[in-house]
């Protein structure tokens, strides 16, 4: 298919919602789908004050469905034996709500959903770490997954190759916080704080964070470890473990990753051309204002690219708007661009 032809199926825009106002603004500003989580450790954004209870989830699903949009529920952490009932209840609750898909990672959760609610569509979460088509085939053969969310580790040619061999559609991350590690396979947070995305649905949890003004500058700590030290006037970001400045062989630098956001606006024509099913926006933990801003820009971009891919280019005002809400005020193409790796 040439880059000039119009694709048969438009790219679906999947936006995050940490609460009902975010869900509504995402729907109002052009999200095709919104993904949410419940108020416990069954999802990977288990933050205080965030997420949906039975009532707001029901209101959210009604709101989205009334406008012809879809709602997905993320149940993408890994239950331990003592907590299994919570995940079982969450799957049942999602099915009862009539959501359009459950996004899951653990085999026990996928297996339960498949057997108990055979009509409930399943997506493999990015936390399922499927980076190759053999892994995708595994989840498709056993659980009938209808879509897979790819970890943010593949270059564009690799994404294309996976897609050509995948039995299901691919959802890729387009914008937002950037995991540098393969999702679902990173234990850095629990190594320092005792809590990880897999076990607890959190990374670098706020309760383990300390901010301290010192004569040397503003210091940020996680679980007691010095993550970064900022000179006066230097912007200080949230001390996510992998985005600190550390010392390796006498050099002090961002040894793992800079505080930066993923932004793939300029890759849209290629993603559309190769037949990617959906673009995911990260950030259920962010404010309704973030959701509004990012949804607006991406809606406009996807529509412009679909109208005329050959003439498409990210507008400066889009980049400006996204820059305002980016971590560290800078963006990257991440692993899609080989040189980043």
């Amino acid at each position: 298919m040439s880059i000039l032809s119009t694709p048969s199926k438009p790219l679906e825009l999947v936006c995050p919602a940490g609460n009902l106002p975010s869900l509504k603004t995402a729907v109002d500003h052009g999200a095709d789908s919104v993904y949410i989580g419940f108020r416990n450790d069954t999802n990977a954004r288990h933050f205080p004050g965030l997420n949906f209870d039975a009532k707001t989830a029901s209101q959210g699903v009604q709101y989205a469905h009334a406008k012809g949009r879809r709602v997905f529920v993320a149940l993408n952490t890994f239950p331990q034996p003592s907590g299994w009932e919570r995940w079982q209840r969450a799957v049942d609750q999602a099915a009862d709500l009539g959501v359009d898909a459950v996004i899951a990672a653990d085999i026990s959760v996928l297996d339960y959903a498949r057997r108990r609610h055979p009509d409930l569509p399943l997506h493999l979460s990015v936390q399922g770490s499927a980076t190759n088509y053999e892994a995708i085939r595994f989840y498709h053969e056993h659980f009938g997954i209808r879509r897979v969310v790819l970890p943010r580790v593949l270059s564009l040619p690799q994404v294309r190759h996976v897609l050509e061999n995948s039995p299901v559609g691919l959802e890729v991350f387009g914008f937002g916080g950037l995991c540098i590690m393969v999702e679902g396979r990173c234990l850095l947070s629990s190594y320092v704080t005792g809590e990880s995305p897999n076990m607890c649905g959190v990374c670098s949890p706020a309760k383990a964070v300390r901010w301290e003004e010192t004569p040397r500058g503003l210091e940020t700590r996680l679980g007691g470890l010095l993550i970064d030290r900022h000179a006066p006037g230097e912007p200080a970001g949230y001390p996510t473990l992998c985005k600190g400045r550390f010392t390796v062989a006498d050099q002090t630098y961002y040894a793992i990753e800079e505080p930066t956001s993923l932004n793939t606006l300029e890759l849209l024509p290629e993603l559309q051309d190769m037949g990617i099913a959906a673009i995911k926006i990260e950030g259920r933990q962010r404010s309704p204002a973030y959701v509004t801003q990012v949804t607006k820009v991406w809606r406009a971009a996807i529509d412009a690219c679909r109208r005329n891919a050959a003439a498409y280019a990210p507008k400066p005002e889009w980049l400006r708007e996204l820059g305002k809400v980016s971590e560290g005020r800078q963006t990257t193409l991440g692993a899609y661009h080989r040189t980043w790796q």
Partner: protein, 306 residues
């Protein structure tokens, strides 16, 4: 009254670093004469590392097998390129040795062949339901994810499917994360595609410290490990009581034979685990840790080292 438990077997995990061919072969010559029961072989971190080719790995497997070791071939932890899937096929279809799957793609290839296999640390088995599902596909042994605690293991063991062995990572730098990015190349400001094999310079990885000088991670190509060495030798009684079948020691550039000897002597009841652990810990550049086992942050050393 204590329940008599079978003595766990001792395993050596795959070498996670890039060592030159000579060092690797010398190392395994010593392992052939060591008290280890099971040896996991293969490059699991980076497909650009080619200390040995497939035939040489298989020859080494035969050599260790002839020395009385159970040999298991370990697969890559992160599979991206088609060439890596082709290599995975060759590993899974070797027809001779059991394979340790470190990615769900490997689980698929092994299960469709009807082979029995080991679930490595790269497979997320966090509960008994997941383990039972995978046992149904041919898993005969699972390595507990390193972030799980003794308490979770006890719950898992109570519901463990029949015929499935449990292996615990008891010694070594913990495998914590994998990335598309090569951190060793990045440290040298080199692109990943032109890394000049700098991992060869770091037989135990590159230590990462905070700006206060506290070492806590080690960079090993695309893998991030703990700087601290997990040592559960003191927990031997509990490991036995929990009916753990296999204890995994992860190879380090120096002193691995002494670690295996210490575990073997303690398992035979010839040495005191507390004292043996103290001796081993005294040699560690960044100290020991047992936090995960105790249900705490992994880098902590919880058990008294008095």
């Amino acid at each position: 009254m204590t329940i008599e438990a079978r003595t766990p077997k001792l395993a050596l995990g795959p070498v996670l670093y890039y060592w030159p061919k000579e060092k690797l072969l010398d190392f395994y010559e010593q392992i052939a004469a060591s008290p280890v029961d099971i040896v996991y072989l293969g490059e699991t971190i980076c497909s650009k590392r080619r200390a040995l080719n497939t035939e040489e790995w298989l020859a080494l497997a035969e050599r260790l097998s002839a020395a009385g070791k159970e040999v298991v071939l370990s697969t890559m932890a992160l599979l991206e390129a088609e060439s890596e899937l082709k290599a995975l096929h060759r590993w899974c279809e070797n027809g001779r040795f059991t394979v340790e799957a470190n990615d769900m793609g490997a689980v698929r290839l092994l299960s469709v062949r009807g082979a029995s296999f080991v679930l490595g640390t790269g497979i997320n088995v966090y509960n008994d339901r997941t383990l039972r599902f995978l046992a149904g596909l041919g898993a005969k042994r699972w390595v507990m994810p390193v972030e799980l605690s003794a308490e979770t293991l006890a719950a898992m063991q109570a519901e463990r499917p029949a015929g499935v062995e449990t292996e615990v990572f008891v010694y070594g730098r913990l495998p914590l994360a994998y990335s598309a990015r090569c951190f060793t190349a990045r440290h040298h400001d080199l692109p990943k595609d032109d890394c000049r094999f700098r991992c060869l310079d770091y037989p135990e990885g590159l230590t990462v410290s905070t700006r206060e000088g506290q070492a806590f991670l080690a960079l090993n190509g695309i893998q991030t490990q703990s700087a601290q060495t997990c040592n559960l030798l003191r927990e031997l009684a509990e490991l036995r009581q929990l009916k753990v079948d296999v204890l995994r020691v992860s190879p380090q550039a120096e002193g691995t034979e002494a670690v295996l000897d210490a575990f073997a002597a303690c398992l035979r009841g010839e040495r005191d685990p507390d004292q043996a652990a103290r001796t081993l810990n005294a040699t560690l550049p960044h100290g020991a840790c047992d936090g995960y086992w105790q249900g705490q942050p992994g880098l902590r050393q919880v058990t008294e080292t008095a």
